[in-house]
């Protein structure tokens, strides 16, 4: 019993020394901005993949196949080593914020491929007749997509988009290779300096992510039922 109390005491001192919640907050910020950017980029890609122009379709397909099949770590390292150090492409003059922004770029271009495919799966839930009816009243491709196809496709894509969002949330830990001070990086530091409570440290971060991710799953399940298009 004593040793357990002792273990708990040392765990508490570890928590006092290191700001776990602050690090997780960085992950949430990364998630938010990357989700937003990848949603926009993914929607554009999905539009390209369903467009009547063959070269757009080809480009969209090429993008998805390249980025979906490249490990995120490699994309992230590329952003840092090539974009920042080699090409000196700085998105911000602030040294740390620059890394943060490039991490968002890396996460966004990678997850946009998955968002694109989620939206496309949503497009597949929309019967062909909807597009034909839109064309028949004189809407051209973009207005038909914006007014008729995408609103229904997004409703059908809530669940797969939720899955992508969950994957993104956990993948933000890869930003640690871009020197962003987020949870995975902090965990590594804590394990290095406080190996006495290593189990508790693992458990803390695991629990942290579970707490962040569970609501996403609940909300997307609820939304996908609520928004389902009655046919």
């Amino acid at each position: 019993m004593d040793s357990l109390t002792e273990y708990f005491q040392s765990y508490l001192t570890a928590l006092e020394t290191y700001n776990v919640v602050g690090a997780l907050w960085v992950n949430i910020q990364l998630t938010f901005w990357s989700a937003l950017c990848s949603l926009v980029l993914g929607t554009v890609l999905a539009l390209m993949r369903i467009s009547p122009v063959p070269s757009f379709r080809w480009a969209g397909t090429a993008y998805v196949n390249i980025f979906r099949n490249t490990p995120l770590t490699i994309i992230m390292v590329f952003c840092i080593l090539v974009a920042i150090f080699q090409l000196q492409l700085n998105l911000s003059s602030d040294f740390n914020f620059n890394f943060f922004l490039w991490a968002i770029v890396g996460l966004s271009v990678y997850h946009a491929a998955f968002v694109c495919e989620s939206i496309r799966s949503g497009v597949n839930t929309v019967p062909l007749g909807q597009a034909e009816a839109a064309r028949a009243i004189g809407l051209s491709f973009l207005p038909a997509a914006r007014l008729v196809i995408l609103p229904q496709a997004f409703r059908g894509a809530v669940a797969p988009l939720g899955n992508t969002l969950i994957a993104l949330t956990k993948n933000t830990t890869v930003a640690t290779v871009a020197s962003v001070p987020e949870a995975a990086g902090l965990m590594k530091t804590m394990i290095e300096f406080r190996p006495d409570v290593i189990m508790a440290i693992f458990a803390t971060f695991a629990l942290g992510f579970v707490i962040i991710v569970i609501p996403i799953g609940l909300v997307t399940t609820w939304l996908s039922n609520k928004l389902a298009v009655a046919r």
Partner: protein
């Protein structure tokens, strides 16, 4: 209102056909679904296309709106050749109303929004005017009291009448009906046919693909019989139903009328 949409658009021209198909051919792979189709439809004419399944009648109907591309030949609407793609085609499609077998109402939009979408976004009509137009058309097809519901909340017959109103809202020069009653429960067929007969009486130019021989007799100016991708026979309904010339037509009518 009633006559305005029927007479919409085309100025009275010297006997120029409103819809003209010249040597139209189309293949689905090895299948030659439209074989040298020549067809003229004059303004105000009601043409009913009948024939066995797979005869190419739906494809013909869809080709006039370029929902199906054609391999060669020409299709002219009111003297204008169907453009390949893009803005011009969209404009031309707005002149050709289309009613589908499966209604295809926009599932996420209310009944009135289904009807106003085209006028608002294609014709750039003002909100109030579009709503007013939509409500008058919905009243005309008898579903004005359902205006705020979603399509899935309506019966098939009601949905199809909304689809007719949606097409009419664009003030089309010609209306295409692609088997408009084939997906309906029997007791709902008449409400849709009545709406179509009404439309025909008002002078709308109509091309109707259907299996409803009663409608053909009642409303058609001309019956076109298609088989195997060809127009086999065309005549007035009276003549076609009482005195069909071709063996294919005799065979077809024998199969459907002997009940």
């Amino acid at each position: 209102m009633a006559s305005s949409s029927a007479a919409a658009g085309s100025s009275p021209r010297s006997n120029q056909p409103l819809v003209l198909l010249k040597d139209v051919n189309k293949h689905f792979g090895p299948l030659h679904v439209l074989q040298n189709i020549n067809l003229e439809v004059t303004k105000g004419e009601v043409v009913v296309v009948i024939g066995p399944s797979g005869s190419g009648k739906s494809t013909l109907c869809r080709a006039i709106n370029r929902l199906e591309t054609i391999d060669d030949g020409e299709i002219l609407i009111d003297g204008k050749k169907l453009p390949a793609e893009g803005k011009e085609l969209a404009n031309l499609r707005a002149d050709v109303g289309m009613v589908f077998q499966s209604f295809n109402l926009f599932a996420h939009k209310s009944i009135v929004e289904n009807v106003t979408l085209g006028p608002l976004k294609v014709k750039k009509m003002k909100n109030g005017a579009a709503k007013e137009l939509a409500m008058s058309l919905l009243a005309r097809v008898g579903v004005a009291n359902q205006a705020d519901k979603l399509p899935a909340q309506l019966s098939g017959g009601q949905q199809q009448r909304v689809a007719i109103a949606r097409a009419l809202a664009m003030k089309p020069k010609v209306m295409l009906f692609d088997e408009p009653t084939s997906a309906l429960d029997p007791e709902m067929i008449n409400e849709v046919l009545d709406t179509m007969v009404q439309l025909a009486k008002e002078g709308m130019t109509m091309i109707v693909v259907t299996h409803e021989m009663g409608f053909a007799r009642k409303a058609a100016d001309r019956v076109i019989f298609m088989a195997d991708g060809q127009i086999v026979e065309q005549a007035t309904p009276e003549e076609f139903f009482t005195n069909p010339k071709s063996d294919r037509a005799k065979d077809f009518l024998g199969k459907i009328l002997n009940h």
